[in-house]
């Protein structure tokens, strides 16, 4: 029986499907599981995924493309773990990841996920673009290659290849230069960090990526890493130590906050704007980091920080996790999570939606366009806001 090998076979049946996992911490609506918010069918709720896993592994239902799409529409945002009242709640996202890896090992995955994984196997990025082009985002910014400096600035696939995210990568580089931080980037030598590959269930490919990265970092003498993306931050901080790759890993907001407080980054001006901040899941719910980005925004004169109704542990995911920034299973409707989130941001009266993750950036910027709010709500990365007030824009 397939159920026998499933990692969570002993606790899978304990999901009562009571539906708490769909709610934000303040219970205000039933839209906080991104996949359920998009389709509003019980099968797409977290409880639905667990029941369907059990039904599939029990042989009550067969594998179908639709079943795979239901599983892969999970963005690993951990809202379910935040809200499930039962004691196995800390394992839920990993239970769904284990279902995906059952599918991966049988080769039965949606073709867009197959593409995603094969592109990474060959080119080290989900877009399948040439490895040689991974450093092109640097352009003429003078951001140095890594040659043993104190910090490795790890950019990640989205920051390296997605046009909008490349701007963020460049801006952060300029800010770090201005702060006089000794750092360098790997450019075309950089490879995928594997966080999405892990949440997509390709365990062996993830291990290979992690081990190769750790070996490369060790050979280069890397000890401190600052990442552009919370996804890279999460896997390097929580998973790499499993392959004895222990480095001092920070998300860039944590570094900027320190640079600001140490006076290495002082603002030449303020920013008179109402700003609302979107908590990225891999910074917030995965790693409990809610305060640092807010400290940065509050330290900028003129900024009025307004919280969305659903924030911190109750934030609604932008829908880009679990590979969905590429596979787009949640796209195509006004109830796509990114569009719901864009409307929520706009409702606060803010003119800037501050993000701290390249995935959120791409998802929310598209959503703002789709909602026709382009002129009224600007999506800006925190590094871009800091750059602006440091006169670097």
């Amino acid at each position: 029986m397939a159920l026998a090998e499933y990692k969570y076979k002993d606790i899978l049946h304990r999901c009562f499907r009571c539906g708490y996992c769909k709610f934000p911490t303040n219970w205000i609506d039933v839209n906080n599981c991104p996949a359920y918010a998009r389709f509003r069918m019980e099968s797409y709720s977290c409880g639905g995924r667990l029941w369907l896993t059990r039904a599939w592994l029990n042989g009550e239902i067969d594998w179908t493309d639709h079943l795979a799409q239901i599983m892969y529409s999970c963005t690993a945002c951990k809202n379910c773990e935040e809200k499930c009242p039962l004691r196995f709640n800390v394992d839920i996202v990993d239970m769904i990841r284990a279902t995906k890896s059952e599918m991966v090992e049988r080769g039965l995955i949606p073709s867009v996920v197959k593409e995603f994984l094969e592109n990474i196997q060959r080119q080290g990025n989900p877009y399948g673009k040439a490895r040689a082009k991974r450093g092109e985002w640097i352009g003429g910014t003078g951001i140095p290659q890594y040659e043993g400096q104190e910090f490795l600035y790890y950019v990640g696939c989205v920051g390296s290849y997605d046009t909008r995210a490349q701007e963020t990568a460049r801006t952060l580089g300029k800010v770090l230069i201005k702060a006089g931080l000794p750092f360098g980037v790997l450019g075309s030598e950089e490879n995928c960090d594997g966080n999405e590959v892990n949440t997509l269930g390709e365990e062996t490919l993830f291990e290979m990526l992690a081990e190769e990265n750790i070996q490369k970092f060790r050979d280069l003498g890397v000890t401190k890493i600052v990442t552009l993306s919370p996804h890279s931050y999460n896997t390097m901080k929580n998973d790499y130590p499993r392959f004895d790759g222990s480095f001092e890993v920070r998300h860039y907001t944590q570094l900027l906050r320190d640079l600001i407080t140490q006076g290495k980054l002082n603002f030449s001006g303020g920013l008179n704007a109402r700003v609302t901040y979107h908590d990225p899941c891999f910074l917030g719910r995965w790693n409990g980091e809610y305060d640092t980005p807010r400290q940065i925004l509050n330290s900028i004169p003129g900024i009025e920080l307004i919280e969305m109704e659903k924030n911190k542990t109750g934030a609604l995911c932008c829908g880009g996790g679990g590979g969905n920034f590429y596979t787009d299973f949640l796209a195509g409707s006004e109830s796509s999570p990114a569009r719901i989130r864009a409307r929520e941001a706009y409702a606060t009266g803010a003119s800037i939606l501050a993000v701290a993750c390249p995935n959120c950036m791409t998802m929310l910027e598209d959503a703002v366009k789709a909602e026709g709010l382009e002129g009224e709500l600007a999506v800006k990365d925190i590094s871009e806001i800091v750059a602006e007030v440091c006169g670097l824009a």
Binding site: Y20, M41, A55, I70, L86
Partner: protein, 452 residues
Amino acid sequence: MDNVKKALAEIVGEDHVSAEPEELYIYSYDLGTTEPHRPDYAVAPRTTEEVQGIVKLANKEKIPVVPLGGGLSLAGLAVPLRGGIALDLKRMDTIIEVNEKARYALVECGVSQAQMCSYLERYHPTLTHSEPGAPGPATIGGNVAIHGQGDLAQPYGFSSDMINGLEIVLPTGEVCRFGSCSISAGWFTLHPLPDLGLFLGWSGTTGIITKVSLRLFPCKRIRGTGQFVVEDEELVPEVMHKLTHTQMAEDIIAYSQAIPPFTSGLHHITINIGGDSEEELEFKQKLLWDDTLGEYIRRGDGGFLGFRRGLDRPVVAKTSDWRKGGGFEYVGAIMPVDTYPECYRRGREISERHDIPYTVLGRCIGMSHAMMFSWTYAFNRADPESIRQAREALHESDDLALELGGTLWKPGLYGQKLVMERMDSNTLELMKKVKQLLDPNGIMNPGNWEVA
């Protein structure tokens, strides 16, 4: 069959109708022990007009329609016994209006209990509704449809006694409105127009509730729960009777359970009270614990376990995880309060016979007018034998409730049969006529309340 799916998609949009095995699997299950039955379609409408379209289509094609909110009835009421359309109403979740002065909330049927609590706490802190203690996603529409009871049942009765108005889609697709809303814009009262109450307690077999105007009640600044405990079950009815005499409580529940072992054999009576000031709170506490229950405390027959501030709403569905089994189901019956001792003793026997730790609970409705008594049986979803044991225990509890002179609340098929066997024939005949009148094509949740 595909033209039906195409027609449904035209009504609700491509994304909100499915005939895929995955959706049909999920919508075939109740969370309890009821045998699953596959629907042919799962549909999630957003508006009353869409519900009308679906029902009209179902009439044309003679396909069953089975409405559900949270689908948490734990009695299999939303299991599509004869296939057809599983109608998931949770997308209809707009809170249309809260009228502070007349203290009512006009909501779409799919508004969840947790959403209602959170919304009132945030925007109308002086108002509250009778929250049934079910898991958060249970809906307002579903709760009134099954004559549910909440944490204001003691002073104000069933949730279905708290209705100011209803919007119903008839089994033939027309929309009807009942109460003041049928003649004016206000949804402030259900009575006194000619009474057409044909849609509650019917398990969705006579129509679909799409809008509910629900009475709200004053919400005191400080709310909390006090606990009293007795060992002799014979005391429970008289204690409940005396407590209701004070008219100070918001919710009175007596429960007894085998787990944790130190509570086994004891009867815990929880009493919710509220006060805007410390004085009001202390006045009520004195009336309840000292003046009313003081005699029991002095005689040593009953003990005061203290008063804890803050209400834990919605109640966490932890019962399902007691035996790490992921499931429980209960029989709820509306019983005379003085049958509590017998319900408890006989209930314990049933549990012990089926090797299930006993859990019983009696919630007072009105001034000891009646109580909702529930026998709960946890089971292990991965162990068919434990499901079978639970199902047998549930049926024995159905029999017991009727044997002790009670009535069954939201009965599954087994319970419905027992009730109909005992019901006087003229009433039964009238039920049949009403059903035929309203649902000539027999599409509404067929299999339930089917008079032979």
